[in-house]
């Protein structure tokens, strides 16, 4: 087991200013000790130059780094199990390797970037922030999300966006069955094809302002592609409300 790094606030401050190698922490310390140690790291005020740390020891552990609320950049390498980064705020996490089910469940803000595949329920209950997965994702990606954005470079499984109340899902590849099932104010952008759309959602043209917005989001998520290549999937009622140009939704969609 790697020893728990001894925290030295002065050292952390020097590290953040001089761009020296990121400090190392280990998952072997246990989730609670690691959580506390990360929260003790002093951070910079600048969003553009976040204090960086590296967390080692990824070997498929479950429930890693949940409920972080710290403006810090974390690099990880290796596979992770289920429910990694659940209910996080502020933290900008980049991990290489596959992740299990429920990655970034209920994330509030910040970002999680996964260079690998993810299991089912990625981003379930997301309320804010960005989840980017540079691989494929299982079923029910973005289920019940209430805000934020999910970007998937590859394919997604069935029931993507099921029960999503708000937010955006961008799919670089194809989608499985029932895309957008029971979705409310959420929007899906898809480059490939869907095995089937759910009842009550439809394909809609990408408006100019959405092209611009999506283009920026693709750049931000480091996903290659032109926004024009994507199509928009929205609830029929939302589209009708847009068409009415009233800026409000018709009551009782269903």
């Amino acid at each position: 087991m790697n020893p728990m790094p001894i925290f030295d606030p002065a050292d952390a401050e020097r590290g953040s200013k001089s761009h020296r190698a990121a400090r190392q922490f280990s998952l072997d310390s246990g989730p609670q000790a690691l959580h506390e140690a990360i929260h003790q790291v002093l951070v910079t005020e600048s969003d553009e130059q976040l204090t960086q740390i590296e967390v080692t020891g990824s070997a498929g552990q479950h429930s890693v780094l949940m409920r972080l609320d710290h403006l810090i950049r974390i690099q990880m390498k290796g596979p992770l199990g289920d429910y990694a980064f659940a209910f996080n705020s502020q933290a900008d996490i980049r991990t290489t390797g596959e992740v299990g089910n429920g990655v970034a469940e209920g994330m509030v803000s910040g970002a999680v970037r996964v260079r690998g595949d993810a299991g089912v329920g990625a981003g379930a209950g997301l309320t804010g922030g960005t989840l980017a997965i540079y691989g494929t994702v299982g079923d029910r990606c973005g289920a019940a999300m209430r805000g934020g954005g999910i970007f998937v470079r590859g394919d997604v499984g069935d029931e993507t966006g099921v029960g999503a109340l708000n937010g955006m899902i961008v799919i670089g590849g194809n989608a499985g069955h029932n895309l957008g099932d029971a979705m409310s104010n959420a929007t899906v952008f898809i480059r490939g094809s869907a095995a089937s759309l759910a009842v009550g959602v439809t394909e809609a043209p990408l408006r100019k302002r959405e092209q611009l917005r999506l283009g920026l989001l693709l750049i931000n998520a480091s996903i290659r592609g032109d926004a024009k290549e994507f199509r928009r999937i929205v609830p029929v009622a939302l589209l009708e409300a847009e068409a009415s140009e009233r800026g409000e939704l018709s009551p009782n969609w269903r």
């Binding site: 429930s63 949940m66 089910n101 939704l249």
Partner: protein, 377 residues
């Protein structure tokens, strides 16, 4: 309210029982988490599904904490009871007279988190200080009979501008199973995650009774810290209610889960019914029906007030009147419940109840009183 279990009575000790003092009067229990931690439950009573969205948010905040102060575990999210920038009373740290330098831990009112598959309205801070996380499986109906959340619920949890309500202000379908769990066989992983997120809470799972014989063993295999059985979803006779509780308890015992708490949501019951359910195998009983009269009064007052004063808040005196009801009327029911539980301890388990009728006695394996005349006489 009629007693549903009026065919059963409490069986006192026999006349020749020697005087041996009173048994222990402490009603609190400890729930053992699968990871070995212990969670204290003040009273074997809980308010399972308060319709918070049907009453004003400030009133909900006052009522929830007042009920919890009786020792009843109250189910609520932060978003049920307050806006984002305020801390609900139910979620605040309370002063603990028992806390000292050697035990400085923060103490909260008894609270359970409804962890629905959809997680609408759930905030990470909800996990702090909770006693129970209730992983709710199986779809539930709204008042119209749909498997859906009402617009009021969605509006309470996910407040938006009045001119852009979520789902267009309509109902939102409910889920049955957490979307990030890959089947019942992986439910134990979800429970482990929740134990980490809520380190002072026991993780329970709640199910409907419709497929008890298959679903109860399946959830028990996932090692929850407790089970909540929502018997109120069936319109059961008193005998069926009692039978279900006994059957569930026996199934748990047979699966080497005798130590796992069985919390019952029975629908409408009296205080005496609740105590009898405890004798039949329940570990705690929901008091939702005891609070209905209070909520009816709150709804009426709020409607009348809104009609007269255009949706301004009710005054503190209105709130005090409901707190008074909780501290007098509800507290007296809780007191009687506690008294009945204490009296039952004079008898060993299995000898605490008797049935008036042969049918009930045989079905529930109870002593039959064999009265020489009709008990209603």
């Amino acid at each position: 309210m009629n007693e549903r279990l009026d065919e059963i009575c409490f069986l006192p000790p026999a006349a020749d029982t020697p005087w041996a003092g009173a048994p222990e009067n402490d009603l609190s229990t400890m729930v053992a988490r699968a990871d070995g931690e212990q969670v204290a439950i003040d009273l074997p009573l809980f308010w399972y599904d308060p319709p918070w969205s049907q009453i004003g948010i400030e009133t909900a905040n006052v009522i929830a904490s007042a009920v919890a102060r009786l020792g009843v575990t109250v189910s609520a999210l932060r978003s049920d009871l307050s806006l984002a920038d305020r801390e609900p009373e139910l979620h605040q740290v309370i002063t603990d007279e028992a806390a000292d330098d050697s035990n400085p831990g923060a103490v909260f009112l008894p609270r359970m988190i409804p962890y629905r598959p959809e997680r609408y309205g759930l905030n990470g801070r909800d996990f702090d200080g909770a006693r129970v996380v209730d992983v709710r499986l199986a779809m539930r109906r709204d008042m119209a009979g749909r498997f859906a959340f009402t617009p009021d619920q969605i509006e309470r949890w996910e407040a938006t501008d009045d001119d852009s309500p979520l789902a267009g202000g309509g109902w939102v379908p409910v889920a049955s199973f957490p979307p990030d769990v890959d089947g019942m066989h992986n439910l134990s992983g979800k429970f482990s995650q929740l134990r980490l997120l809520s380190q002072d809470a026991a993780v329970f799972v709640s199910i409907s009774p419709h497929r008890l014989t298959t679903e109860l063993p399946a959830v028990l295999a996932s090692q929850p810290d407790g089970v909540v059985l929502r018997l109120g979803e069936l319109n059961l006779s008193g005998l069926a209610l009692a039978g279900f509780v006994q059957q569930a308890r026996r199934m748990m015992d047979d699966q080497q889960c005798g130590h796992v708490p069985l919390w019952i949501v029975p629908g409408k019951i009296t205080v005496d019914d609740a105590a009898k359910l405890m004798a039949l195998g329940a570990t705690a009983v929901a008091i939702d029906s005891w609070c209905e009269v209070l909520l009816d009064d709150v709804r009426d007052s709020e409607q009348n007030h809104n009609a007269s004063f255009s949706y301004s808040s009710l005054s503190a005196s209105n709130h005090q009147q409901w707190v008074d009801w909780i501290e007098c009327d509800l507290a007296s029911q809780v007191e009687r419940f506690g008294g009945l539980l204490h009296s039952m301890r004079y008898q060993p388990p299995g000898q605490r109840l008797a049935a008036f009728s042969q049918e009930w006695a045989e079905t529930l394996d109870l002593v039959s009183l064999n009265l020489p005349f009709d008990s209603d006489a």
